[in-house]
């Protein structure tokens, strides 16, 4: 449980997500270098009333797998949670894929704020096209790629958003009750990184879902696009409404917004087709 008085920024989405960890029984939380590391507290204080292990960036999935194997061998009940940002998911991807493949009893939570925020907003593979970061000052040139989609064939995989906490809690609880590899990919709009007012975190997160820039789905035995996103597809709001609130897209051209919108809709429709076969 996240304790008040921690080092998160105003309006931090990650701490909203952290609160849902109380859905998990016997949690042991692993944290690589990330915003979460700083939020979790500076020695000798910890901001989480939980067992937390801080680990180097790319090692997170493997340390988690090691802990879960250790607990299994020693007969200790525990739920090992690898809590990482999109940056750690990038740098540890080989290990992440490997623990998924081995079906290690690990729950991975990716709090995705679409850039390396802890080091001051550099591009990650999650950063959307045309968003400005300090390493893409003119805007990113490539489309983002979803880490959860790339691991959709392994265990329980779901997306969630801090804009829809009830849905997030449900998926957190469900993932926590399962064995083997589980992945929860949580969309986390970041006020300082995306350059919007701190009070708008939840609103932006919801706009992302309603404009199809973030799709809520769940792959258990079968892939299901969550009702919230299905409704959003039927009553889609214009991309502009989502994009214009964010300073990272400052100066974006009309046709570029249209391109992003097209990309988002196409991605949703691809997922609809996938739903029929997966």
């Amino acid at each position: 449980m996240i304790l008040p008085g921690n080092a998160s920024c105003h309006g931090c989405p990650i701490t909203i997500a952290m609160k849902t960890l109380d859905e998990i029984e016997n949690p042991v939380v692993l944290m690589p270098a990330s915003c979460s590391t700083v939020i979790a507290g500076i020695h000798p204080n910890s901001a989480l009333k939980l067992t937390v292990v801080h680990v180097p960036f790319p090692s997170t999935p493997s340390v988690a797998a090691g802990m879960s194997r250790g607990y299994r061998k020693l007969g200790i009940k525990a739920n090992v949670i690898a809590w990482m940002g999109d940056g750690a998911a990038d740098i540890s991807f080989t290990a992440l894929k490997a623990i998924a493949e081995r079906n290690e009893d690990v729950m991975v939570v990716i709090v995705d704020n679409e850039a390396f925020m802890n080091t001051g907003n550099q591009s990650s593979s999650s950063t959307p096209k045309y968003a400005k970061t300090t390493t893409d000052p003119a805007g990113k040139r490539e489309n983002r790629r979803s880490v959860s989609l790339s691991l959709i064939n392994y265990g329980y995989v779901a997306t969630a958003s801090v804009g829809y906490v009830k849905d997030l809690r449900r998926k957190m609880r469900k993932a926590g009750e399962k064995d083997g590899f589980r992945l929860l990919h949580v969309h986390c709009p970041c006020p300082p990184g995306w350059k919007f007012e701190a009070g708008l975190t939840v609103e932006i997160a919801r706009l992302a879902v309603q404009s199809l820039f973030w799709i809520l789905w769940e792959k258990d035995n079968k892939l299901r696009i969550s009702e919230i996103s299905k409704k959003a597809y039927e009553n889609r709001i214009p991309a502009e409404k989502y994009i214009k609130l964010q300073g990272r897209f400052k100066g974006i051209k009309r046709e570029e917004i249209e391109e992003l919108e097209k990309f988002a809709v196409e991605e949703f429709e691809r997922l609809l087709k996938l739903e029929e076969i997966l």
Binding site: L3, G5, A7, N45, S46, V165, P191, G199, T201
Partner: protein, 83 residues
């Protein structure tokens, strides 16, 4: 050996973060229906129910105003604390 490696849970790990506040959320208890949406979305985990009323721990509330924006009853308003 272990002192430098182990950290213990503490409220206020980053100090009295209420001092970071520019806007202070104020609850209008007349309008509040105790739906707890504000508490659910509060990133600082400082909103709870005390004596059947929403209570905000101003010692640590950073004043992000997410609570104000998610409140369906528009029962939270913001007051500027600094100029």
């Amino acid at each position: 050996m272990l002192d430098p490696l182990i950290s213990h849970p503490k409220v206020g790990s980053a100090g009295k973060t209420g001092e970071w506040r520019v806007f202070k959320p104020i609850v209008d208890h007349e309008l509040c229906v105790l739906c707890l949406e504000c508490s659910e979305y509060c990133p600082e985990n400082v909103i709870e129910v005390r004596d059947d009323k929403i209570w905000i721990d101003y010692d640590y509330c950073k004043g992000c105003l997410i609570c104000k924006n998610v409140c369906k009853m528009k029962a939270i308003k913001a007051e500027r604390e600094f100029y």
